[in-house]
């Protein structure tokens, strides 16, 4: 059994020393409980363990500074969840595992003019309206029906495509990462199978841990940052968590094979079957990057359409035009992005993989919308159906230490089977209702699997980010309505 040692190099920051084939050290953000859980996995000889995955990523060519894991770390496929790996664009690689099977899965949060009390008066009707308006669950299809040419437009134009179809209001694009579409997408790099799987899935939420929530700001931690963000206590928000749906899944499946062949071609050892990669500058690497960008745009288009459906549901219950439900921010957490970062005093162009990690840029970066630039980028952290979610802001320290990256959610503490054996869906619904949270979902079993107690306490993982200064708390929110797939 392999032994992995972690040394606490500063409070909440643990390092795996560079050894063997590792080109850089591993660095994990966590409190003692989080770290102990990771060490226990190694001690118990678990085949699937995050520390081993962090070490494996540290061996990939061209990696810069450290192989990182944020405090929502848990085992993934090749990369751990919460994993961040930044690679030199000339000497480094791009890896399927660093992006995963749901390209640009992410969160859109919208601000509304409503207060918690106003929503409570219509809570049941609004929950029903959202549930009936936003397609959710396995087997659900959307109103937007596309053919192959139109899918190619989605892959090139992202959220702009949805806007042009009437799904959006002025200003939406200004507050989406990359303004809702990324250049460098090539529809030809995406297989026909991937496109055909997506014909009816734009504007659908999906299933699993994806959700649409109506939330209210229950606590403001940083008055000045909250003011700059336009957030205040009691304000109602809408958050949407979903990704590129079947098209993104198929990109992952397809390129796992392409990059497995590339790993062999370029003599890059495969340390885990999913941890395949290609030199970023190679033909295979560039083709995969073009496909990832296409997947990113697909997710942008999808969330844009869902956001607008949510507006429709609100206006059908509360009246108005929906124009006062404004995009606060949208950001992905399964990506590989070209970014410039300081590496040992030199500004370098890097391909930054974030697998279950949110970009968290600090103040002054051009990528952050002008209105938020003085504070830093909003970091949207999803909780569970019954617990807090958080909005943080990126920091200078995050730019220096984590390539401007932070957590994306709580991370599971219990297996799906374990959740089913300890939680009954109807009990979960009742307990949440008693707390004032209405849940609507197609699957009662799915609700049990996503029970709040199946996840780590989100406060714990957020506190690690806050206390290390990687991302600082601005507000916390609590759900009033949760629509599950």
């Amino acid at each position: 059994m392999e032994e992995i040692k972690l040394n606490e190099v500063e409070p909440y920051v643990w390092e795996i020393n560079k050894e063997g084939d590792m080109l850089v050290p591993g660095r994990v953000y966590g409190d003692k409980d989080i770290i102990q859980h990771l060490l226990d996995d190694v001690k118990q000889g678990k085949e699937w363990n995050a520390l081993k995955q962090i070490k494996n990523v540290a061996c990939l060519p061209g990696i810069q500074k450290a192989s990182l894991a944020m405090s929502d770390v848990h085992p993934g496929y090749g990369f751990c969840i919460g994993g961040v790996g930044a690679f030199d664009v000339n000497e480094g690689v791009i890896s399927v595992a660093g992006v995963g099977f749901d390209v640009n899965c992410g969160v859109r949060t919208m601000s509304t003019p409503f207060t918690k009390d106003e929503i409570l008066k219509v809570q049941e009707q609004l929950a029903d309206s959202l549930y009936n308006t936003v397609p959710a669950g396995v087997g659900s299809t959307g109103d937007i029906r596309l053919d192959k040419d139109e899918i190619d437009e989605v892959l090139l134009r992202g959220a702009k495509f949805s806007m042009e179809r009437g799904y959006g209001t002025k200003g939406d694009l200004d507050f989406i990462e990359e303004n809702g579409f990324i250049s460098g997408a090539d529809p030809e790099a995406v297989s026909d199978v991937a496109k055909r799987r997506q014909f009816k899935q734009i504007g659908t939420l999906g299933a699993g841990n994806h959700y649409l929530e109506v939330q209210y700001v229950d606590k403001v931690y940083d008055e000045a940052a909250a003011k700059a963000y336009g957030l205040s206590e009691g304000q109602v928000l809408v958050s949407i968590h979903c990704g590129s749906r079947a098209l993104g899944h198929q990109i992952g499946t397809d390129y796992l094979k392409t990059l497995e062949a590339a790993s062999k071609k370029y003599n890059i050892p495969i340390r885990e079957r999913e941890l395949v990669c290609a030199p970023f500058s190679s033909e295979e690497g560039q083709k995969y990057f073009s496909a990832v960008n296409a997947g990113i745009n697909c997710a942008f288009a999808n969330r844009q359409a869902i956001a607008h459906l949510a507006r429709k549901a609100f206006t059908s219950v509360l009246g108005g035009s929906g124009d006062d439900i404004k995009t606060f921010y949208e950001i992905g957490h399964n990506n590989a992005k070209l970014e410039k970062h300081d590496v040992n005093g030199e500004l370098k162009k890097l391909i930054v993989h974030r697998k279950g990690s949110t970009r968290a840029f600090g103040p002054g970066r051009d990528e952050v919308p002008e209105q938020y630039r003085a504070v830093g980028q909003p970091v949207l952290v999803g909780g569970t159906m019954g617990t807090h979610s958080f909005i943080l802001h990126g920091t200078e320290k995050g730019m220096r230490d984590t390539f401007g990256s932070a957590i994306h959610g709580a991370g599971r503490a219990m297996s799906r089977k374990g959740a089913l054996s300890c939680c009954r869906g109807n009990d979960v619904l009742r307990e949440l209702r008693d707390k004032g949270i209405l849940v609507r979902g197609h699957s009662i079993k799915g609700i049990a699997e996503e029970a709040p107690k199946a996840y780590k306490p989100v406060e714990e993982v957020v506190d690690v980010m806050h206390n290390t200064g990687i991302a600082k708390k601005v507000v916390s929110v609590l759900p009033l309505i949760s629509i599950k797939g």
């Binding site: 085992p75 969840i81 396995v138 899944h249 999913e274 374990g418 197609h442 699957s443 009662i444 079993k445």
Partner: protein, 136 residues
């Protein structure tokens, strides 16, 4: 013969057991669709053909499951009955299913992909056991 869902920290594993390799693949597919929908709610009335190949029989199982996931979205069908032939790591198969109907079917979870994680083919006594983990 039989299938099982296996404990996994964040996702779920599938195990197909059969007297032949083919039967184990068929049961593994059934296991995967049981993650998505209550199989008792399905009355299959449509059939699709699936072909795939791989470098070995273990990888072929992942190919097979991912091919079915693609067909599920493209044809908008949940599959419940399968028939496969395998020769030299090549699979030719049929899958029978019925159209999505959220009013009549208890849907559970979507599956993003079948992964290589936990992928293992074993022969114990006379039976074949094939397993892998699904990304949910």
């Amino acid at each position: 013969m039989a299938f099982e869902l296996l404990e996994h920290e964040a996702d779920v594993g599938v195990l197909g057991i059969g007297k032949t390799l083919e039967e184990a693949f068929q049961e593994g597919a059934k296991a995967m669709f049981s993650v998505m929908v209550n199989l008792d709610d399905l009355s299959p009335d449509k059939m699709v053909r699936v072909e795939c190949d791989a470098v070995d029989d273990e990888s072929l199982f992942v190919e097979w499951l991912n091919a079915l996931l693609a067909q599920k979205d493209i044809e908008e069908l949940f599959f419940v009955k399968f028939e496969v032939k395998i020769e030299d790591h090549k699979l030719v198969g049929k899958a029978w299913g019925c159209s999505f109907d959220l009013d009549k079917q208890e849907v559970l979870n979507d599956v993003k992909a079948a992964t290589y994680h936990g992928l293992r083919l074993e022969k114990k006594d006379k039976d074949y056991y094939i397993r892998c983990v699904l990304d949910i």
